[in-house]
Structures are given as C-alpha cells and as structure tokens.
C-alpha cells in the first residue's frame, strides 16, 4: 500500500490501482453523507478533483493521485456513504485507476512513512 499527503491510499494489483482515503482521514472528516464519483473510463490528470465527498460538517474534494484512466468506481459507497467511515481501507474504496506511468507511485509514502506523516 502507498499513501499520499492528501491522505489517500493506493493499492496496486497488476497495474490497476485501487484508491481510497485513510482511516485517519475518514475520522477527521466525520460522518460521510454524500459521495459523487467520476464516470468510469474518464481520463484524469494528477490533482484533478475527481470525487466530492460531504461529511456532516463540510464538503471535501478527493484528488486524482496520478495521471491515468479511471476504470471502475465503487457505486456501493454512493448508496451507502457510511461504508467509508466503517471500512475506509476496504469496502469504502473510491475508484480504480490505470496509471499512465506506474513509476509515478514510486516516491509515495509507505505505511511507516505515512504513520510518521500524520504523527
């Protein structure tokens, strides 16, 4: 698993990368009540606002962690946004992306580095 400073996790399985937010981020956001996902087959650039989530407190944007193509989105969290709070690093995943250049992930944090990052 790799992590970004935007509190996303990335799980690479044979070149398809699943993306979600960390338990730390989900806890900070509070109860999530709304999710808007991109269309599958969307080409995105790093830092594009690809997902909107709203917690009871505020709206937040989730940014594309790398350039690539969205290949699948998790419709289950649209129907049940609370899944993100319940299982942020499992059932609460957001989308799967095929990175244009998988080496873009090389410099991302590993779990130990992310833990140090959030203190």
């Amino acid at each position: 698993m790799k992590y970004t400073e935007e509190h996303e996790w990335l799980l690479d399985e044979d070149g398809i990368v699943t993306v979600g937010i960390t338990a730390h981020a989900a806890e900070q956001l509070g109860d999530i009540v709304f999710v808007e996902l991109p269309d599958p087959e969307t080409e995105v650039s790093k830092d594009d606002e690809v997902v909107v989530i709203e917690s009871v407190k505020a709206a937040s944007d989730i940014l594309a962690p790398v350039d690539g193509e969205i290949v699948e989105v998790n419709e289950a969290i649209v129907a049940e946004p609370s899944k993100i709070n319940e299982d942020p690093e499992g059932e609460g995943w957001f989308f799967k992306i095929k990175p244009a250049d998988p080496s873009d992930m090389d410099d991302m944090m590993d779990e130990a580095a992310y833990k140090a990052f959030i203190g």
Binding site: G30, V56, K57, V78
Partner: protein, 366 residues
C-alpha cells in the same frame, strides 16, 4: 478577533475527547468521539447535554415598557415564571439578535447569542444604563431530548412540574440553578444556568446517567435545522426583517397594527406593514432531490432560468430524516410549498422542493 474564551466546562470537554474549535470567540467542542451523526440521534432518542455557556446571560432590572421599546413582542403580558422568544430590531427593521427573556418577578433574565452578546449588552446599556447586569459567574447548560426531564429530575425533582417556557430558580446540590423548560432542538428539554464553580460537577453528575451524552456544536446545528429553528447570522441578519426571516409569528398581537400597544419599537414602520402586506422574500425549507447537501451560501434560482431568487441560509444532512435539508431566503412568488427551485452547488443546478418549516415536528411539553 481577540483571545478565545473558554467556558467553565473546557477541561471537561477535553477529558471527554471533544474536538475543540473556535466559535463566536469561544473554544468549544464541535463533536465528541461519538461523532455528529450519533450525537444527533442520541439527543433525539435519549438526552443530550450541551455547553451553551458562550451565550450571553443578562439580568435587566427595568419595567416591561422599557424592554418593549426595544422589542416587537409583548413583554408586559408575560407572567412571572414564564419565558418568551424576543427580537432586538434596528431602525431599518432588521434583526440585531434574537433572544429568550423571562419574567422573574422584580427583573427580567435574558439569554442572547454569543456572537452578538457584546453588541446586545451595549445596546441595552445605551437605553437602560445601570439596569443592565451581564452575568459572568454562571455557566449555561442545555439538556435536551425525551429523557431530559427524567435525567434532570434525579438531581432537581421539581423540574417535572415545569411546562414548556416555564422558568424557575431552584435550590440544588450545586447551588441555586436557574432553569427554563426550553431549548434549541425542537424537543422537550431544559436550559440550566449554574454557578460557574459548580458547572463541571453538575455536568458530570448528569453525564453519569446512561441516558445522557455530551453533544457538540455540529449536532446542535443539525438538530436546530431539522426543527426549523432560525439562527442569527444565517436566517436572521441586520438586513433581514422578521417577516422575511420567518419569525413574524414572534411579534405579539398587542404590538401589531391595531394592537393595544401598537408599534413603538425600532423599525416598526417597516416591520408592521410587512406583517399585513407580506415581504418581498421569505424563509422556507428546501428538500434537495438528490443526496448532496446544499449548504449556507448556495444561490437559489428559478428553474431553467438565470434569475436568482434567493440564497440558502443553512443546510446540511438531517440525521433523523436520513436526507439533506436546507433553509433558504427566497422570493415570495416562489415560496409556495411544492414549488421546485434550483440550488447551485459546485457549479451544478440541483433541483429542490420548497417545504414548510419545521422539517420535523417539535415535541415540546406544552
């Protein structure tokens, strides 16, 4: 903004794991570990304890006529031991603040909004001088929800005899407490003013009851929105008249055109005709058709048109209803229930249906 103030319960909030934020010049918990959603539901199903010590408590030793000169409500007709909702209006008919005031025999006791407390006190003092005594040595707690009466009666049994909007000064193990049966969630409950040095012990005693959980500012806001209760700075502003803000009901018959003590308050020349003739804009509930919350500041448009007809004044997710709700100030010709309007969120126009307030009926013990 100067130094943030702390209430008497600050250390308790930290011990309880409260997430502290700045609010109206005070450091207060926005939520506890339970989270906004569960806190909201707990307050609806059992009892929630809120620290509202940031609100201004003020004693006014003046006669009813002196207060009636500042507010469009019936002060003279308020019986001893009773509380009423009031508004401070300005010369242009806008709302400086809303408040609760109680008749306590030889004086009135007022509770005003934290953000406006300083201005309210200056306003009162400019008219009433030494009659105004800000109370700074007392905390203010709210205990709200269907189990609030049982929980509070374990400490102060006589609160059971109070009904909605009764006030009483009662002896307790925590000194003299000033109790009103009222609140800001739309449910039964109490607001309790307690000596500052007794506040933590009082709160801890209430929290020892399994029915009582501490509730932060986040759920306080979602609870009041569901109840359709206006908030100054949102539904009500210095530029918003009572009729426009949806609080025209608060203006007593005796102070309206043809009443026994008609007018005689700031802005009456604007406010009274509007009560009869209507206002250009009015405050309504909006039910967004999708799941996206439509929050404070979202512009509201007529459907399929670029004509902006208003603005969302409060909005978010309603935990007890399971969908988003908003309160909006919109043109009166689009304010009929079931009218479809469009609210703009992140550049998209989202359809929403006008509805009457409140979203959820109140359960006061009248």
């Amino acid at each position: 903004m100067g130094e943030l103030k702390r209430t008497a319960l600050f250390d308790l909030h930290e011990r309880l794991g409260g997430k502290i934020v700045a609010f109206a010049g005070w450091e207060l918990p926005v939520q506890y570990p339970m989270g906004v959603m569960k806190e909201h539901l707990h307050a609806r199903e059992a009892a929630g304890l809120f620290d509202v010590s940031h609100m201004g408590q003020v004693i006014v030793r003046a006669d009813a006529a002196a207060l009636e000169a500042l507010m469009p409500v019936d002060v003279a007709g308020l019986a001893e031991g009773r509380q009423r909702y009031g508004l401070f209006t300005n010369a242009t008919g806008g709302i400086m603040d809303d408040l609760m005031f109680a008749n306590r025999g030889d004086h009135f006791f007022l509770v005003v909004n934290a953000a406006n407390a300083e201005a309210d006190i200056a306003h009162l003092e400019s008219h009433l001088g030494d009659a105004v005594e800000p109370i700074t040595n007392r905390a203010l707690l709210a205990l709200q929800g269907p189990k609030a009466a049982d929980a509070l009666a374990e400490i102060i049994p006589s609160v059971r005899d109070m009904r909605f909007m009764d006030v009483a000064v009662l002896d307790s193990a925590f000194g003299a407490v000033w109790v009103s049966r009222s609140g800001y969630t739309g449910d039964d409950g109490f607001e309790i003013s307690v000596p500052r040095d007794q506040a933590t012990a009082f709160a801890e005693t209430l929290l020892a009851n399994d029915a009582v959980a501490p509730i932060g500012l986040g759920a306080r806001d979602s609870l009041r929105m569901e109840a359709g209760l206006p908030l100054h700075g949102h539904e009500m502003t210095e530029e918003t008249t009572p009729k426009t803000a949806g609080v025209g009901w608060a203006i007593s018959k005796s102070r309206r055109a043809g009443g026994a003590r008609e007018g005689g308050f700031p802005g009456s020349d604007v406010i009274l005709p509007e009560l009869q003739n209507g206002s250009a804009q009015t405050t309504v509930g909006l039910l967004p058709e999708g799941r996206a919350p439509v929050r404070d500041g979202a512009p509201v448009f007529a459907p399929d048109s670029d004509r902006q007809i208003g603005i969302v004044t409060s909005g978010g997710f309603a935990p007890s209803l399971g969908h988003p709700i908003s309160i909006a100030r919109i043109d009166a010709d689009h304010a009929a229930p079931e009218t479809v309007v469009h609210a703009e969120v992140r550049g998209k126009r989202l359809p929403a249906r006008v509805t009457k307030l409140p979203f959820r009926p109140s359960t006061f013990k009248r």
